[in-house]
Amino acid sequence: MGAFHKIIANVKSALERKPAPALAHDGAHLASTPISNAARRAELIAQFSRELERVGGKFLGDHSETALKDQAIELARRINAKSVVVGDGLTVEAKAIRKALSHNKITVIEPARVHDEERATLREQIAQSDLGILEADYAIASTGTFCIVADTRRPSSITILPPVNFIYVAADRIMPTMAEVISAVGPDNFARHRVALVTGPSRTADIEKMIVIGVHGPKELFAAVVA
């Protein structure tokens, strides 16, 4: 890689005309304190839902695990979903949601490890799904954002391909700021997994700067918090 070293040499000689200040990183990692106090938690949930609705998301409230399952079925019925893709949960078992959907005669797609020749089929199934359901790793209260660390059984395409998304998050994983969430995910996960911050349904303002919701990503985003 001769070119690389040449450019590095260029960069180096360019910099040496003036001594550079030392790279002093204060390493101010914001500690991710678990939210213990109930009032603080309620406040964060309220802030999160407010910000989410500002960017066009629809907040379906905070639920117990059982109520979450009912919420998923009600939503699937309301949008007349025939096929739903459900990613694995983190704090909540996705099994109950899948079972309940199947009971209601809705096809359930369960992403899993695939061989190369199966990939296209699974992708086609996810693309044909009417609804994608997934548990987010964290949420940012100040911006109404979900943070999703993708994985084999929780692939990114759940939040790309279906026209409607239902994303839920555990109440104690809502944090006040982006800095805290990024620090909670940590450098190792950013190097090993595909991480995404999702703030509302896809949108554009490319025509006369007028906001239109629903471009290439999901057109609708429903959200819930699990207590």
């Binding site: 070119a3 450019i7 180096k12 490890r113 025509i207 471009v215």
Partner: protein, 467 residues
């Protein structure tokens, strides 16, 4: 489109100034944007602190660019990416076309990327028989019109919804409508199948984190997410200045970027590209190529004044506040990078063809005030003007600078006169007398010869002799 050597800025900007319809569209869109930005900043008190922090991180990052680039390359390779460092546009282009050929791509879906405009990737792909498809709505619109983007954030800012309605009616065979919702839905429908069949995706990168070897791609429509996740091969193109040291630095940039670029707290999607998919993963590309582009940037780095321009986040806010950009639009600049920051970057990336752009500014300083990393744009523009006028910029002198030198000689003659009160008074009397025959109704509307340019765009009050 790199700055075209035949592009005539004077002709293009004069024509644009006369285009009242263009002015209406630009005022409309830039006005809306500035309104949103003001709102966002007002409701986020830490904005100025975050700005200062982001600026500091950029200063340190650029001062240690060599070390950071080595670290980034190592980390990206450890994550399984193939890294190619391109000295210039041709090297980058050739590499990407070669990757596309090797992976057998017939269609390439592109997320929004100014770096790929800079290296003129689309014509190179087309020439190799590969179809590049722009997927950002604004980029898609200008591609259908066979145009280039006229703004780094809002590529179709020069078009009204009626223009786009007519375009879609003709090219996508839909019924004419000026409704943005319907037009957006039509583009979604059309591009969806292309996304699923394209063999390769090309994106830019807003940041590259050296610590983790992760690229960060900020967008709203989901097209960047699509392009970087669904096709089997991914090529991400970034300038050498995009690298930041640590993961913990990122939030400082994200807190200010969305707020200034589009007036959003955070854009809809922030995608992190780490590397190829793990064995058995349902999605993510099999191969990830990262093209790190120099193309004149290390030359900018060597100049202590110009170096500051490498802090730019490409948010596009300086275009929207610029009184010159707001009158002439992006195409008049003849470079993919227009507006105040474009006037700095373009001459350094494209050489003599863009050497006159630093003069296309009123130096009012609105760009410096809105810049999220506080780049002193007027200072750099003055510096570039100085370099151009003195021939110190290393690029061949163009005709324009001869004109600058002529002006300089005239000004020094004037200065000699103006130092003596009696001569000065005599000169003004003579001037008033000489102008008198051209006065009509108390105004000078048209002057002959060397004075023609003074009255070309404005009327002067006719001088009156004072007793």
């Amino acid at each position: 489109m790199a700055a075209h050597p035949k592009h005539d800025f004077f002709a293009a900007s004069s024509a644009a100034v006369e285009d009242l319809e263009l002015r209406r569209k630009l005022e409309n869109a830039t006005g809306r944007h500035l309104h949103h930005v003001a709102e966002m900043r007002a409701e986020f008190p830490p904005f100025d602190d975050e700005r200062a922090t982001a600026r500091k991180i950029k200063e340190e990052a650029i001062a240690h660019l060599d070390e950071l680039l080595i670290q980034l390359k190592d980390r990206l390779e450890a994550n399984g990416c193939k890294v190619f460092v391109a000295a210039d546009a041709a090297e980058a282009r050739d590499y990407i076309v070669d990757v596309a050929k090797r992976c057998g791509a017939r269609k390439v879906v592109k997320g929004k990327s100014m770096a790929t405009e800079e290296i003129e990737l689309n014509p190179a792909l087309s020439a190799a028989g590969i179809e590049p498809v722009e997927t950002d709505l604004g980029e898609y619109i200008v591609q259908l019109r066979r145009e280039t983007p006229s703004h780094i954030i809002t590529p179709a800012i020069h078009l009204s919804r009626e223009d786009i309605g007519k375009l879609f009616a003709e090219k996508l065979q839909i019924e004419y409508t000026p409704e943005p919702e319907v037009l957006t839905a039509a583009a979604r429908e059309k591009l969806r199948s292309i996304f699923l069949e394209a063999e390769m995706g090309v994106t830019g990168a807003n940041f590259a984190i050296a610590e983790t070897g992760t690229l960060v791609l900020v967008e709203n429509e989901g097209n960047g997410r699509f392009s970087s996740t669904i096709p089997d091969t991914l090529v991400a193109v970034m300038g050498i200045e995009k690298v930041i040291p640590k993961l913990a630095d990122l939030s400082h940039f994200l807190e200010i970027l969305g707020r200034t670029a589009t007036g959003q707290k955070l854009t809809c999607y922030t995608n992190f590209i780490n590397g190829p998919r793990a064995n058995g993963d349902p999605d993510g590309p099999r191969e990830v190529h990262v093209v790190i582009l120099d193309n004149g940037r290390s030359r900018m780095l060597a100049d202590p004044v110009l170096r500051e321009a490498l802090y730019c986040l490409r948010c596009g806010a300086c275009l929207n506040v610029c009184p010159v950009y707001r009158r002439i639009g992006g195409h008049a600049y003849g470079s993919p990078y227009s507006g105040p920051i474009g006037a700095i970057v373009s001459p350094n990336l494209f050489g003599a063809a863009a050497a006159h752009l630093p003069f296309a500014s009123t130096l009012c300083g609105a760009c410096r005030d809105i810049c999220p990393v506080k780049i002193d744009i007027p200072r750099i523009l003055l510096h570039l003007r100085w370099k151009e006028a003195t021939g110190d910029n290393g690029i061949p002198q163009v005709e324009f600078s001869r004109r600058v030198q002529k002006t300089r000689r005239a000004m020094s003659r004037f200065a000699r006169m103006a130092r003596h009160p009696i001569r000065m008074r005599l000169l003004t009397r003579l001037g008033a007398l000489a102008a008198w025959p051209f006065a009509r109704d108390g105004y000078l509307r048209r002057m002959p010869g060397a004075f023609r340019n003074w009255t070309r765009t404005r009327d002067f009050r006719a001088p009156r002799s004072r007793r």
